[in-house]
């Protein structure tokens, strides 16, 4: 921060504050509009006109979605993948990272090289698809869960965090006769809580937002994840395409689309203000490593 004498509010400050307010508005503003349309009563919403404040407030669009089988199924699918996926991802990443974080382990260099190679070069989507096909995981949520479970980058960041933990506690535990596994669960994991929190969020957000991987491996609309459903709601000309036909009261798609977008963002929006510092510290952990 630059040094200045006195507390004058200069032109530079005005520019800076104005720009930042503008940027904040651009980031958040669109959602105010989306929110407003989603709460507009479908009776008064005319697709070709612009409203900022709902002409008539209504929860009809939301009720429609929450009662629509396809939407709730997709929500369920995403929730399952997110919860199970995050747990598995954390388990694999942290156990592997701790396993390779000590210097005196034969094969450590081999493991390190192994994972660095995967960071540099990947086989591509077609061999990945073939693998899932051979594992009979096509159209299964496990394909998504395992495909995104971890990555070399995640392991490297967690490992460098675990390396930075003080060794005295581990040494004391080893002298008391504990083995590595017990040390991992009783000592390392409690110490690694901030790192666990950050990666819990990273993985959870990753699984909740998944689109392409889901599109790639799942063709059965009953097994669609939330983002895939939202996308088809937006892109397809009629909401019939998402299997929501069979409703007597056909609401105009606009309000439903906007409500769907808000609903799919909802968990992240709710969690974000409280856990923001864990989101950020995860990034800084990564940045320190590079």
């Amino acid at each position: 921060m630059s040094f200045r004498i006195g507390k004058k509010f200069t032109l530079l400050d005005v520019i800076i504050y104005a720009s930042l307010i503008l940027l904040s508005f651009i980031c958040v503003g669109p959602f105010i509009y989306v929110l407003s349309v989603s709460f507009t009563s479908p009776d008064v919403y005319v697709p070709y006109q612009f409203y900022l404040v709902p002409k008539k407030f209504s929860l009809a669009s939301y009720m429609y979605l929450l009662n629509a089988d396809s939407f709730m199924k997709a929500l369920e699918n995403s929730a399952f993948i997110t919860i199970v996926g995050t747990l598995i991802a954390l388990a694999i990443t942290f156990s592997f990272a701790y396993g390779i974080c000590k210097q005196d382990m034969p094969g450590r260099k081999l493991f390190n090289t192994l994972i660095i190679i995967t960071m540099l070069f990947s086989a591509g989507i077609i061999p990945d698809y073939m693998l899932m096909k051979n594992l009979k995981l096509i159209n299964s949520h496990w394909a998504i869960i395992f495909a995104l479970a971890t990555s070399a980058w995640n392991v490297v960041v967690v490992r460098s965090f675990l390396k930075s933990l003080p060794v005295e506690l581990e040494e004391a535990a080893m002298m008391d006769g504990y083995n590595d596994i017990q040390i991992f669960f009783r000592i390392i994991l409690p110490l690694a809580k901030p790192c666990l929190a950050s990666f819990l969020l990273i993985f959870a957000v990753q699984y909740w937002n998944v689109y392409f991987t889901s599109m790639l491996y799942i063709s059965d609309p009953n097994k669609w994840t939330l983002q895939v459903l939202v996308k088809s709601l937006i892109v397809d000309a009629s909401s019939d395409a998402a299997g929501m036909a069979g409703d007597e009261k056909r609401l105009p798609q606009e309000t439903i689309r906007y409500a769907a977008v808000m609903l799919s963002m909802f968990p992240i929006l709710v969690v974000y203000p409280f856990l923001q510092r864990y989101f950020v510290s995860g990034m800084t952990l990564g940045a320190v490593k590079g």
């Binding site: 921060m1 630059s2 040094f3 200045r4 004498i5 530079l12 930042l20 940027l23 904040s24 980031c27 509009y33 697709p47 006109q49 612009f50 156990s95 592997f96 396993g99 005196d104 382990m105 034969p106 493991f111 192994l114 994972i115 660095i116 995967t118 540099l120 070069f121 086989a123 591509g124 989507i125 077609i126 061999p127 990945d128 698809y129 073939m130 693998l131 395992f146 479970a149 590595d180 596994i181 937002n209 689109y211 392409f212 790639l216 983002q227 939202v230 996308k231 937006i234 892109v235 606009e254 689309r257 977008v261 799919s264 963002m265 974000y272 923001q276 989101f279 950020v280 800084t284 940045a287």
Partner: protein
């Protein structure tokens, strides 16, 4: 005498093979529980990363699902030759370069500028609220970003076109316009990543010695000059490193981002290697061609990234590895 000691020391410092193997086994046994911990992750990497590498063989075959990898005929580099000589290939290269180039020209400076601005704010509550709001888009899926793009630019129901019609003007179909495509992609990236990108630069700015500012002020530098002469040089290496790394990743266009917005009318300007692999390899089932394209892109990416890393290290900075 000194030669003899030299020889005896060098020979005796290498323990005999038997002892070293015994030492190795002792180490393995000592670490045996760590191997248990490593096991799930290792299995995961082998199954989900290394086994697919063998799938790269399909790029050298005329792969048919019925015959499998071992039954399909080998065609050597024919698939690559086919791809390289097609117009699609030139399109893919051009599109990748344009998207990457615009990203570097228009997106890259923004997190730096915003980070400098944030660092100049004294009002800590304002700072925190601003940071919270600008980080948010990064956590939203590309589907949401596309949804917002659609709500804004759609020819039927988009906000912009609603405004145009109410002013009595013609509707414009942005999402099918070839030039607009590159602009839209860049704007999407800017919207989503600018805020998040400031984190790294803010950390770098925080590392600048405050005394340098005071010294500059004493020399008569106003705030702008202080920013120019202290802040920016202070984060110069961070900027250079990030730039090099960004250039190194130019081949890595976000598949989801492009795939969502892609439609037949803008196919020629939006096709990049990964989308080609998806559209032709998966959707149309041309497995070998798709694999060849993906493999090519991976190799190119690898070369660029390693070069970027090398250049960074030559400049004295840490690379990625």
């Amino acid at each position: 005498m000194s030669v003899n000691t030299a020889i005896t020391t060098s020979v005796s410092s290498r323990k005999p093979f038997k002892d070293r193997t015994r030492q190795l086994w002792k180490n393995i046994k000592k670490n045996k529980y760590r191997y248990v911990l490593v096991f799930p992750g290792l299995v995961w990497f082998i199954i989900f990363k290394y086994v697919p590498y063998s799938g790269l063989l399909m790029a050298f075959q005329n792969f048919s699902v019925r015959k499998g990898i071992f039954g399909s005929p080998w065609v050597g580099l024919d698939n690559f030759r086919y791809v390289f000589s097609s117009t699609d290939f030139m399109n893919m290269v051009r599109n990748t370069l344009i998207i990457g180039g615009m990203n570097i020209l228009f997106y890259f400076p923004l997190p730096i500028i915003v980070a400098v601005m944030i660092s100049e704010v004294r009002h800590s509550k304002f700072k925190r609220i601003t940071q919270s709001t600008i980080y948010l888009p990064h956590f939203l899926s590309w589907v949401i970003v596309y949804a917002l793009t659609f709500f804004l630019l759609s020819v039927d129901v988009g906000l912009v076109n609603k405004a145009l019609t109410s002013l009595g003007m013609e509707r414009i179909s942005f999402l099918t316009n070839k030039t607009a495509f590159y602009i839209i992609i860049t704007c999407q990236t800017i919207w989503r990543e600018t805020g998040w990108g400031t984190i790294l630069f803010l950390a770098a700015i925080a590392g600048i010695n405050q005394e340098l500012y005071e010294a500059a002020a004493i020399d008569g530098a106003g705030r702008l000059r202080q920013i120019w002469h202290v802040t920016l040089p202070g984060i110069k290496m961070t900027i250079v490193t990030m730039l090099i790394l960004r250039v190194g990743r130019v081949a890595d266009v976000s598949l989801e981002q492009v795939l969502l917005i892609q439609n037949p009318l803008i196919q020629s300007v939006s096709e990049v290697f990964d989308t080609y692999a998806y559209n032709y390899g998966i959707i149309q089932g041309l497995t070998s061609i798709g694999t060849a394209v993906s493999a090519f892109k991976s190799v190119v990416n690898l070369v660029f990234v390693l070069t970027a890393d090398f250049v960074c290290k030559r400049l004295g900075e840490d690379g990625i590895f």
